[in-house]
């Protein structure tokens, strides 16, 4: 660490470490730029970056949940004004998400005790970033080639495909999404994404959005707004539980990150308008795969230090 920039150091009370204010603001701004550009939460980038900076993984995950509350509130308002939030669907997803994130925080605590939390965090990242990144890359390249061939016409997806899901009980009508499906499916999706969100320190939008489009068949217009709507409540629940059970939410770090984040997101959103959807998605896919490959690489190469210390017996 540089010693010349002492005046810009700030002590993070929960992470119990001293960091350079501008590094954190820059990190928030950079990730905010990406999230504005691509329309994603950015948690999947921020949490690994914080860990690379030396923030304890547990504090990175807890604090990131807190920051995502802010970025989701900020993001959902624009969608809300345009009426692109399916509140009924959002509430069902939130119900599952509440249970899921609660389970996730308990699982987090249990794995931390076993000493395997870092491994599970890394594995979750590798698996889900790998799957989502590959799918997105293939899909966006196909779209890019298709738009070149037929001059911009995107193939229309078939709606109302009938599958085993339609045989499930508790059918409900979701007017905004123009769907009549069992409430069990979104609740289970919410539960599953909630567990991952709590474990990985992300909002889970990168899993939720494809799940809404491909599994539920929701129209793309309401997908992002509804996803952000439920992320607010799921990450708020995770923040509360991480605060009370693990004491791992650093408010000072979260405020610095979101200060940089909101500014970066606005700039990113303005850049995003100039790029085509398929181009954006392929760029995002490459970035997601980049993070995945880096984590995988770290797991299989011989580590420089085989031993690691953690404080035990602290409550």
């Amino acid at each position: 660490m540089g010693q010349g920039a002492e005046g810009m150091q700030i002590y993070l009370p929960i992470a119990e470490m001293s960091v350079n204010v501008f590094v954190i603001l820059g990190l928030g701004g950079g990730v905010g730029f990406m999230s504005g550009l691509f329309g994603v939460g950015g948690g999947f980038l921020m949490t690994p970056l914080l860990i690379f900076l030396g923030v304890p993984p547990t504090v990175a995950v807890g604090t990131e949940a807190n920051q995502i509350v802010a970025s989701s509130v900020s993001g959902v308002l624009a969608h809300w004004r345009r009426g692109n939030v399916d509140i009924k669907m959002g509430l069902i997803l939130t119900l599952g998400g509440f249970i899921g994130s609660t389970l996730g925080v308990y699982l987090f605590r249990w794995l931390r005790g076993l000493g395997q939390i870092d491994l599970v965090i890394s594995l979750c990242y590798i698996i889900f970033l790998g799957i989502v990144g590959s799918l997105m890359l293939v899909e966006s390249i196909q779209a890019l080639m298709a738009s070149k061939r037929n001059g911009g016409a995107v193939p229309v997806r078939k709606k109302h495909q009938h599958s085993w899901m339609h045989g499930l009980p508790f059918k409900m009508r979701f007017r905004r999404s123009q769907l009549y499906i069992s409430a069990v499916v979104p609740a289970v999706i919410g539960l599953f994404v909630g567990i991952l969100a709590a474990l990985m320190g992300v909002g889970g939008g990168f899993i939720m959005v494809p799940a809404m489009i491909y599994l539920l068949g929701m129209p793309t217009a309401v997908v992002v707004g509804t996803s952000l709507f439920q992320i607010i409540f799921v990450t708020a629940n995770a923040t509360f539980l991480q605060s009370t059970m693990n004491h791992t939410v650093d408010v000072v770090l979260a405020l610095l990150l979101l200060l940089g984040g909101v500014i970066g997101a606005q700039i990113g959103a303005r850049f995003g308008v100039k790029l085509k959807g398929e181009q954006l998605r392929s760029l995002l896919a490459l970035m997601v795969l980049g993070v995945c490959v880096k984590l995988l690489f770290d797991m299989v190469t011989v580590p420089g230090e085989l031993f690691a210390a953690g404080t035990g017996g602290k409550h």
Binding site: M1, Q3, E6, G7, Q9, I10, Y11, L12, P13, I14, E16, M17, S18, N66, Q67, V69, A70, S71, S72, V73, S74, G75, L77, A78, G115, Q116, D118, L119, I232, A236, T239, F240, L241, Q242, S243, T244, H247, V249, V251, V252, A254, L255, L258, L259, V262, Q266, M299, V300, V302, P303, E305, L306, F307, A308, A309, G310, T311, G312, G313, K314
Partner: protein, 249 residues
């Protein structure tokens, strides 16, 4: 008569027994305050030694020791191609901070037995390591603990120099990095001569969080539920503000 005795006793208590005290030492400050802008600090230790008989003065050794804590060490091993934590060891009495300064190399001052009795030097730390691992032994875990703490700047890489002035006055700077653990530290000053500890003095040094950071930490631990709710409300408010401000812009 009674009054005279009282005066004598008071005098004796007030005036340090100058000739009989072979070692006096003090710190430039007794409190290291971790404030919001804390980025590490130096504490100056200074003092004087009396001439030991024969006119030859002794050597000074300073040990700065942080409060003991329980450390859990984990060792990674390759399983199915990936590196997974496979071994564990618990160390109950590891000092959270450990620095040694000396006027001469330690092995020239006293025998390992003497150094071990006072736990002077990393090699002479008495660590209680309980290993649950088939792939590594106590020695490897001990070396790992020392190495990891040295990397964090909490254990000294080497014995620091103590500057002497006219054979009697000594001074040394002890650096406390930004990640220094809080608690009551013990600064032990030893006067060594003829391979023995001739005199010793212990001064406490408090490392404590002060100000906003300390308040936040206390609040987060003692009022965790309210802290969590405030964290959520702060984030929601900040997000809402950002959306409003940038909508107008």
């Amino acid at each position: 008569m009674k009054r005279l005795w009282l005066v004598l006793v008071l005098l004796a208590a007030a005036a340090p027994v100058r000739a009989a005290e072979p070692l006096v030492a003090d710190l430039s400050k007794h409190l290291v305050a971790i404030t919001t802008g804390f980025a590490g600090t130096d504490v100056l230790l200074f003092g004087a030694i009396e001439e030991v008989d024969g006119g030859k003065s002794g050597d000074v050794v300073v040990v700065v020791r942080g409060p003991n804590k329980t450390e859990t060490l984990r060792r990674k091993d390759r399983t199915a191609g990936i590196w997974i934590n496979s071994g564990i060891a618990k160390v109950d009495n590891a000092p959270s901070f450990y620095q040694v300064a000396s006027t001469r190399p330690l092995d020239q001052l006293a025998s390992p037995a003497i150094l071990g009795r006072h736990q002077i030097g990393l090699d002479h730390l008495d660590l209680d390591i309980r290993v649950k691992d088939t792939g590594a032994d106590q020695g490897q875990y001990r070396q790992a603990l020392l190495r990891l703490n040295q990397k964090k700047g909490l254990y000294g890489d080497k014995v620091l120099d103590i500057g002497m002035l006219s054979q009697r006055l000594f001074r040394t700077d002890v650096h406390f990095p930004a990640n220094v653990p809080v608690g009551v530290y013990m600064v032990e000053v030893y006067l060594m001569a003829g391979g023995q500890v001739v005199s010793a003095q212990t001064t406490p040094l408090v490392v404590s969080k002060i100000g906003v950071g300390a308040d936040v930490f206390d609040f987060a631990h003692h009022q965790a539920a309210i802290y969590g709710i405030i964290a959520i409300l702060l984030a929601a408010l900040a997000g809402w503000l950002a959306a409003v401000v940038f909508k107008k812009a």
